[in-house]
Symmetry: C2
Subunit: 443 residues, 2 copies
């Protein structure tokens, strides 16, 4: 095994599960290991305490006149349950079939370590870096980065930079370098629909009072028309139309045909807002999804109750230039306006995050594209992502800088799931990518 | 304590929970006790084995020229969970505040024993009964009477009778004698809506495939218009219109005002099919109730999944002259016709039972009314019930005889729930009722 893989394996062996307080010591040990590794490379490191898990900062010697590049990553990982579904222990990494198997291998330790090792290689080969570098590694990404925004605000001056690079997203398919320049935002809410004070006998009382399960269904059903277009008043008002070049490029992105989508999701049919391709629906159009619905008896057989209450959880994925708070207000207005007779409806606001977009054809964007091409041997596709990474927008707002999303995950990398894995080829490509990126940015 | 209350207490002490195989011995011991009690009264008894719990039959000496009256009851009871909510142990009956507390006190041991003890008293006082009596007591009512129909069919000749009396329903309010002459029927079904092969990330895939939770909501919502009228084609075709006398009588039935319904259900508002009172909605109009709905993440906080599947359970309460199988077919057609795009919908049929109605002004019906008036000192109200007791209709079909429903339960008797209780006054009234009924029927 190469020294580089040995470093990654050492990093992967820490069960740095941020959500589980039993693993707080492991998260800290992982941060300490990282500090030592970065020190050993000749970088200046700082370990910043937060109310929970520490933030690790590392820099080379900065020089006026050089561009400053901040590389973000996270060293915490998701839990491993159900652990019995793993083919090899999640914190005992191993290589099989050209992939590195273990929790965090892709998300995010593998991608993050590729940047670290790229810098190490470059420092060894050239003695110094062509840019002023800031590594910013947090230990709370998997729990929603609760302490990152305060940290960014407090250290705004020290973190001043010209561009940010993040490898925490995906490649659309094996061997297809991918640059992301947009993310959907999100706003979540939950409704509780209440009727009778307790479950009623559906024979004795059915027909004279409203059924909360029927009412919640009416509310959920009211969110879309039959074609899948969202029926909330004003919902699409601020949606930025797709550019012509985006529609053209996305039509050619591999892995996004209807057959691909059906294959990967297993859905019986494609369904979505009329007049848009799947890629367009996922990357440039907002959604209203029910994440959960429940009420009454859901066990085996029948229980003829008229349930006392029912609930639904929603997440709305947002695109530029929708504002999460504006959408949350429109959703609330809609739900209250459509509240069926005979029940009470409570709307509970959830978390939110703004959508993000930057110009992939800017100077930095072009540098990212060239670096990807050099690392992987072909021109990258330019995409937005359907998911939400609120910190990208936070960094844009606080530091005033855009992020290049240079993701190395593949659709079958099983992030957040059992048997997470990372292609050795992408790990090695990631190291090349880092070096090419720093050079291109410096030009 | 009177000898009659002692008999009831002995009967109540058997934990004859029919659904729990651990209590099979208790159910049998209860049947044996009943046989002994009936023998001690001078009746001829039979204990009939079934694949599960025995059926107890008892008769006096029958004489040609006398009317034959069958009195049905059940000696099995519901489970007692959650047992910690009981104020006194469920199988250690006691009297507090004029009520007998214990599992089965109302449903059905108390009501049934009132008939038994009425017969005992009459036999002591008069030496014989004015009718040919058949007691039919089963031990499986609380599990849906799986062996009663085969038993009725096998013993059709021996069970030949002119009228059936059943005390297993309710009085509309304290001190208001009540005769039921109708029951709603029922048909149940469950739908499973399937989309992707597994839960999807709502950001990564939301927007390009249909969400089964949205689809199940659309289907549930399609069952009613916004006023609560059922929107299934042909659903109301066979509904028998209310008679003028029924609307007039029900308007005067106590305990059925909107304020009463709101008070007992705790619902925030009255809701139901336009142009009908609550009593009419409950007793003479059919329903489409969601008993359960579920899909996706229902726990605390948020989990932004697009669920793989969702489900809903329905029960439809039916009124004369709706046919459960006809309605089940119409429901299935409706659900298949309204199946949203992009998902598959499976409809699974559940159990059913026909609605029941008889003429409360027939000769036997009048005898029931007079007996209630004699026992409780005022003319009874005539109602139908919202619930379903399929065996009443089964007995009508197999034995060709109608049932008088002379219920003694009160709305606060907590049947099927912790702290089940039976008013001592209604127990004593039930004994008087039995004697008056047999006399009136004999006239």
């Amino acid at each position: 095994m190469t020294k580089q893989l040995e470093d990654l394996f050492a990093f992967l062996r820490f069960p740095s599960i941020s959500t589980d307080s039993n693993h707080a010591g492991d998260v800290r040990a992982c941060a300490n290991w990282l500090i030592e590794k970065l020190n050993s490379m000749g970088l200046n490191t700082e370990l910043h305490e937060t109310p929970k898990h520490p933030i690790v900062i590392a820099r080379n010697e900065h020089h006026a006149g050089k561009k400053t590049c901040l590389i973000y990553g996270h060293y915490d990982v998701q839990p491993v349950d159900p652990v019995e579904l793993w083919d090899s222990p999640p914190f005992e990494p191993e290589i099989r079939d050209g992939r590195i198997w273990g929790r965090g291998s892709t998300d995010n330790k593998g991608q993050m370590m590729a940047h670290v090792l790229g810098v190490e290689e470059m420092l060894k080969e050239e003695g110094e870096l062509p840019v002023n570098l800031i590594f910013l590694f947090e230990g709370e990404e998997e729990i929603g980065s609760p302490n990152l925004v305060p940290f960014l605000e407090k250290h705004k001056e020290a973190l001043k930079c010209d561009v940010i690079a993040v490898s925490d997203t995906g490649m659309v398919a094996e061997g297809v370098p991918t640059m992301g320049y947009g993310l959907r935002g999100i706003t979540c809410c939950e409704i509780t629909v209440k009727g009778p004070k307790g479950d009623l006998h559906s024979g004795v009382y059915g027909g004279c009072v409203a059924n909360p399960a029927t009412a919640v269904a009416k509310l959920v059903a009211s969110l879309h028309d039959d074609n899948g277009k969202i029926a909330i008043e004003g919902f699409y008002d601020d949606v930025r139309p797709l550019e012509v070049w985006e529609r053209e490029m996305w039509a050619k992105v591999p892995g996004m045909t209807e057959a691909d989508i059906l294959n990967i999701t297993g859905s019986p049919a494609i369904f979505g807002e009329p007049d848009y391709s799947s890629a367009e629906r996922l990357w440039a159009r907002p959604t209203a999804e029910v994440n959960g619905i429940g009420g009454g008896y859901q066990g085996e057989g029948s229980k003829t109750v008229l349930p006392a209450e029912a609930m639904a959880k929603f997440s709305f994925r947002l695109v530029p230039d929708q504002d999460p708070q504006d959408i949350a207000a429109k959703v609330k207005t809609h739900l209250e306006k459509h509240a069926p007779a005979g029940v009470t409806v409570e709307v509970h606001a959830g978390h939110d995050g703004k959508p993000y977009i930057c110009d992939p054809h800017s100077e930095n964007g072009k540098a990212g594209q060239v670096a990807l091409e050099q690392a992987f041997g072909k021109a990258p596709v330019l995409i937005r992502e359907g998911g939400s990474i609120p910190i990208i927008q936070d960094m844009k707002e606080i530091l005033g800088v855009e992020s290049l999303m240079l993701g190395l995950a593949l659709p079958n990398c099983q992030i957040h799931a059992p048997n997470e894995n990372f292609y050795v080829e992408n790990f090695e490509g990631g190291i090349r990518l880092n070096k090419a990126l720093l050079k291109e940015l410096a030009k």
